[in-house]
């Protein structure tokens, strides 16, 4: 019987053959924390261990509220810096032009690598599956314990196979597909499972698109989500892999799956997640014309250069009708957008560009909604209160739809704006 990706990756880390539902204890290749490194450091100190197990395997990336919008946030950042200095943790991405959204940085800096076991104190850690890593989110206590012991337990998950064929039609993107998929399988569709994306539809996608898919894995309950590490990935990591522990792993043809789905990308149309759940899918025909007050282009889901290009192509020569906040996912993305003239396009069309970081995604700053307001956003969650006020409404959509909607001030079909 063949093995799934999760069985191979966790078996490699455990050092012996494993099968689904077995419990293993492994050493993480990387432990990533963002601003919550501070409370984790406090918990770590309560354990009573003097030093972290391997400072070179811990990564801090400040992104949730940068630069600090309040004294509380500033204290938090200060604690992360002090702890990193005290423990000799060199991988610290502070509030500098080396920074950005943690998941974007983990990928573009060469931490996300095939076959590695990566844990992060953030639920969207599953993003690194786009590079073939086994990556998953954990809580604060668990991260503190991992720093102290260098160990974490996992139940080897059962796996879901998603086979994707075909190509997107113009105006349709990876975000439209994953929102439709989540609408079909629902928010608990892959609870506890490892989700593997297979097929030529995935092979044809850029790594950025695969990151959008894997990033949203947690929104349908996945433990991790992963794509095959093909030549595109090997080319991307060739010059900047942060370690040599990686190994391309992929499921066997005869691996056994708990669930299997088939999609043709040619059948996908532009769509949204309606308030207040990510699995509350609606095709464009259902929501077209819904008035909006804010548009947000950015986040770990859709703040990459490919996303900014897609939105800029629609915004070029047009004027936005509502406040439109653009936040590149990192300063590398920001600089590239500047070189390509995309920032000029955004500014000419009336958008506001903020510094790389999570921005308004989880209601910290840079675009909080007022009661009764509606936003269209490229981020990953539309939960009640997510962008700061419980009486506001969030529609999740692709960068193209966000751009088209910003121009009209209402949810709009990007196919009509191309």
């Amino acid at each position: 019987m063949g093995k799934t990706f999760a069985e191979k990756a966790l078996g490699r880390a455990a050092g012996y053959d494993v099968v689904a539902n077995q419990v293993v204890t492994v050493e993480p290749d990387w432990c990533m924390s963002h601003d919550n490194g501070a409370p984790i450091a406090r918990t770590f100190k309560k354990i009573g261990v003097k030093n972290v197990w391997k400072p070179e395997r811990i990564v801090f990336i400040l992104d949730h509220a940068v630069p600090a919008p309040s004294s509380d946030h500033a204290v938090n950042h200060k604690e992360v810096r002090e702890f990193a200095a005290e423990q000799g943790i060199k991988h610290l991405y502070d509030v500098t032009s080396d920074g950005g959204v943690c998941h974007q940085k983990m990928c573009e800096e060469g931490f996300a690598l095939p076959g590695l076991i990566m844990v992060g104190s953030d639920s969207h850690t599953c993003t690194y599956g786009a590079y073939g890593a086994f990556s998953t989110g954990i809580g604060r206590s668990e991260m503190a314990a991992a720093w102290a012991t260098g160990k974490i337990w996992f139940k080897v998950p059962e796996s879901m196979k998603v086979v994707v064929t075909g190509k997107f039609k113009p105006g349709v993107s990876a975000k439209d597909f994953i929102l439709k998929f989540i609408g079909d399988v629902k928010a608990d569709g892959a609870d506890y499972m490892s989700v593997e994306f297979h097929g030529e539809g995935i092979e044809n996608m850029s790594i950025a698109e695969r990151m959008t898919l894997c990033n949203m894995g947690i929104e349908f309950g996945a433990k991790n989500a992963v794509c095959k590490p093909d030549q595109k990935v090997l080319d991307a990591i060739k010059d900047n892999a942060k370690c040599d522990r990686w190994e391309p792993l992929w499921a066997d043809e005869d691996a056994v799956y708990a669930a299997e789905y088939h999609y043709d990308l040619g059948d996908i149309e532009p769509g949204v997640a309606k308030p207040h759940k990510v699995d509350n899918y609606g095709p464009i025909s259902e929501v077209k014309g819904t008035k909006i007050h804010e548009a947000f282009l950015g986040s770990c889901t859709n703040g990459r250069i490919e996303d900014l290009r897609a939105a800029a192509a629609i915004l070029k020569g047009k004027r936005v009708a509502v406040r439109t906040i653009v936040i590149p996912a990192s300063w590398i993305v920001y600089r590239q957008a500047m070189k390509e003239g995309l920032l000029d396009i955004f500014l000419d069309s009336g958008c506001v560009i903020c510094n790389p970081g999570c921005g308004p995604c989880m209601g910290n700053h840079e675009g909080i909604l007022a009661p009764g307001e509606t936003a269209i956003s490229t981020a990953n969650r539309n939960f009640k209160g997510r962008m700061g006020d419980k009486d506001s409404f969030i529609y999740l959509a692709s960068p193209m739809m966000v751009a088209a909607s910003a121009i009209k001030g209402e949810i709009s079909d990007p196919r009509e704006a191309l």
């Binding site: 419990v23 809580g139 314990a145 928010a187 609870d191 989880m362 910290n364 969650r381 209160g385 997510r386």
Partner: protein, 164 residues
Amino acid sequence: MSVKGKVWKYGDDVNTDVIFPGKYTYTIKERADMAKVALEDLDMEFNKNAKPGDIIVGGKNWGCGSSREQAVTCIKERGIAVIIAKSFARIYYRNCFNEGLPIIVCPEAVDAISMGDEVEVDFEKGVIIANGKEFKFPPYPEFVQGLIKDGGLIPHVKKSLGLA
């Protein structure tokens, strides 16, 4: 050990943002203060009136969304005795054991319980008693029993490292 308490019942897919709003993740640091905003964006009645010993009953996928552990801490610090649900989102599930907050997966019991009911849970016998009916639930997986016995992950790690 057994507990008896008044039920606060909710539906499917209750997410961590409505249990502990994201805007508080870096402004509320003390555990006791986390309890004050528990379920603020889900149910202000709970937020105002929930008492130690009360029981939360949820549908499927309780605690989906963010990994924020405060969504468990705020409920534990509020003194909630146990959460019974049809299923839990996986990070939340782990966080509960790591925080030492008892949880039970029992879909049949959830369907038989209404808001405001008095429900009893006997952990030794693995039984929920609600409206005169008994619902059995399986024991915790072996690998988490140690965590529960030690009162959560941090005390468990301290003990295993000989620092307790």
